[in-house]
């Protein structure tokens, strides 16, 4: 490895190669229970350097794990097989923002919020506001085909890629798309690289479609005694055509915990609704708000609050965003972990049932559940909150994970719809996509990365196991192998 590191220094310079143990260890953790230390961290500054790095490492068969901000939930950007962590965060230039073409061209290490602030100045937006804010890079967002808080209105990020520059392991630089809004020329490879989690190539640059920033907006909150009412209100809002920005549901346990800890005075409920709506002028917004509030009331929504200022907006979003802070206060030592059942998706008509059932499954194992739902698009985020020093809680988390995923599939849902497979879902990939698709995915991987150097150990492309090649941050952690013994 020492010789390889010397060659990497020749490519990117001494300050862009990190090999001190203390600095490498800083890259060893994400939201999962795992601990994986890379042999070196390398920061390329431009596409040419990425070409040289990949060519070198491909020849030597050294694993390369691409990383943007490292905010992945699923172990996706952990170097589980060691080797080189290719950190793209210093390739962070916004190359161009064009109001005329409604596009931006950016290097992949540009941070989401930093980018959004620049767009705001020009009345534009890239409306894929992931909850990881400025921790997330554009490269990480594209490679995960992420789903921002406004995905209800704007869809997945993949459809917003107008062009992409991707470096393949053999050093080929692919240029997909242009500044022209559409292309339909053979296989849609940009769609293949979006969501490929760094297993097929390195995204170095992207040409992104932009949207106009709506000048006025409001957030609406409501509390429901019954989750069925909340979900039917969400469907009615979708059917009304008012084009809301986002529609979110949070379960009653979470609402109560947040309300108690933050002293918010929220009423007891089975679920709370928070949505936002944008308008091109005040009159347009007011009409939409009227429709939304009426629907919420008709379906049993109580204590309806409409927020136009930051303080009330934050209060309404608190149940959705503050659970981690609150739980530490109520149950010191408890925390959330990235686990395999963090982001399933169910048919819209099954959302109320699924929020309830998923919460029930988790609690039945004696640990704490907070359940959220992107109610307009069927994605459910269960958070399992455990005392990580308690072995029984790890067993509970693993049992709950399996039961949730089996349940979701049984009602016509899918295993993952937001974060992707990463490392933590390796054992569930076959169940999720079936043997034929898995076989085809592996053929595509082999074609583009014959030596298997790119982000090895992920998406079940080379192993269907987890826990076998990494360390754990808690000695009480119970491995998959121990679960079966």
């Amino acid at each position: 490895m020492l010789g390889t590191i010397k060659q990497l220094i020749q490519i990117v310079g001494e300050t862009n190669v990190v090999s001190a143990k203390v600095d490498r260890i800083a890259y060893s953790r994400d939201l999962t229970p795992y601990f994986a230390v890379p042999d070196a961290v390398v920061f390329p500054m431009n596409t040419e350097q990425v070409v040289e790095i990949l060519t070198l490492l491909n020849e030597k068969g050294v694993p390369v794990t691409p990383r943007g901000g490292g905010a992945s939930f699923q172990g996706s950007s952990l170097a589980v097989k060691g080797g080189i962590l290719l950190d793209l965060s210093r390739m962070n230039k916004i190359i161009e923002i064009s109001n005329e073409d409604m596009i931006a061209i950016v290097q992949s290490g540009v941070r989401y919020e930093t980018f959004e602030h620049e767009l705001e100045k020009r009345g534009l937006t890239f409306p894929h506001d992931v909850g990881s804010h400025d921790a997330a890079t554009i490269g990480g967002i594209l490679a995960s085909d992420s789903n921002g808080h406004h995905a209800y209105r704007h869809g997945r990020v993949g459809a917003w890629i107008q062009g992409m520059e991707v470096v393949l392991v053999d050093g080929t630089v692919l240029r997909l798309g242009t500044r022209a809004p559409r292309y339909n020329m053979g296989y849609n490879l940009a769609a293949l690289f979006a969501g490929s989690e760094g297993t097929l190539g390195i995204i170095t640059e992207a040409t992104l479609k932009l949207a106009p920033r709506m000048p006025v907006e409001a957030t609406v909150g409501a509390f429901f005694k019954n989750l069925d009412g909340l979900i039917s209100a969400s469907l009615a809002i979708s059917m009304s055509g008012i084009d809301a920005g986002t529609i979110e549901a949070t379960d009653g346990y979470t609402v109560k915990t947040i309300s108690d800890v933050m002293n918010l005075g929220f009423p007891t409920c089975e679920g709370n609704f928070v949505g936002d709506v944008q308008g091109f002028d005040e009159e347009n917004l007011q009409r939409k708000l009227m429709v939304m509030e009426k629907i919420l009331k008709e379906h049993g929504g109580e204590n309806i609050i409409t927020a136009r200022d930051e303080e009330t907006t934050n209060k309404l979003w608190a149940p959705r965003l503050e659970i981690d802070t609150a739980i530490v206060k109520v149950h010191p030592g408890y925390r959330e972990f990235g686990f395999a059942a963090a982001d399933p998706c169910v048919p819209l008509s099954k959302q109320a049932e699924a929020i309830r059932e998923i919460g029930r499954i988790i609690r039945s194992h004696g640990v704490i559940a907070a359940v959220f739902c992107h109610a307009g698009i069927g994605i459910i985020h269960p958070a399992v909150l455990i005392d990580a020093r308690n072995r029984e809680h790890w067993v509970a988390m693993k049992k709950a994970e399996q039961e949730i995923l089996e349940y979701v599939v049984s009602i016509g849902g899918v295993v993952t719809a937001e974060h992707g497979f990463g490392y933590v879902k390796n054992p569930y990939v076959r169940m999720a996509i079936g043997p034929d698709k898995l076989e085809l995915d592996r053929k595509i991987k082999k074609l583009l990365d014959p030596n298997g150097i790119l982000n090895p150990g992920k998406m079940a492309l080379d192993t269907e196991e987890r826990d076998s090649d990494v360390g754990f941050i808690y000695k009480e952690y119970v491995t998959d192998k121990e679960m079966t013994e």
């Binding site: 203390v22 260890i25 800083a26 060893s28 994400d30 905010a71 400025d134 925390r335």
Partner: protein, 130 residues
Amino acid sequence: MSLEKYRHIIMECVSCGLCQSNCPIYRQTNLESHSAKGKMTILFALLEGWLNWDEVAERMYECTTCKNCQATCLSGLDIPAVVEAARAELVKRGLGNKISAQLVENMQKTHNPFGEDPKARNRLKELAEA
């Protein structure tokens, strides 16, 4: 070991990275060991015995204790308190901040933190008065 008292904060860090966004040090370097996330990971490794105190010293002093990370922290953690506890332990172990030590020495010897000849200041005073 006093840092042990802060183990619960180190372990409550979920490694989400939200603290990267406004850390004045991390924003300059994009080096994870400069962010609160990285610092908590390093201290975790230290408590586990995977790193030594002398290996972590420099990174612990590279923090302004501005609390920006606490303001964006997903779990509201008081990171600067942990960093300061680590520094206290470093000093006890004879691994005090070399730069601070130099500043103190300069003050004692030259009556200014820069280690410059105090006569230079007198000359400036004379020039200003002239």
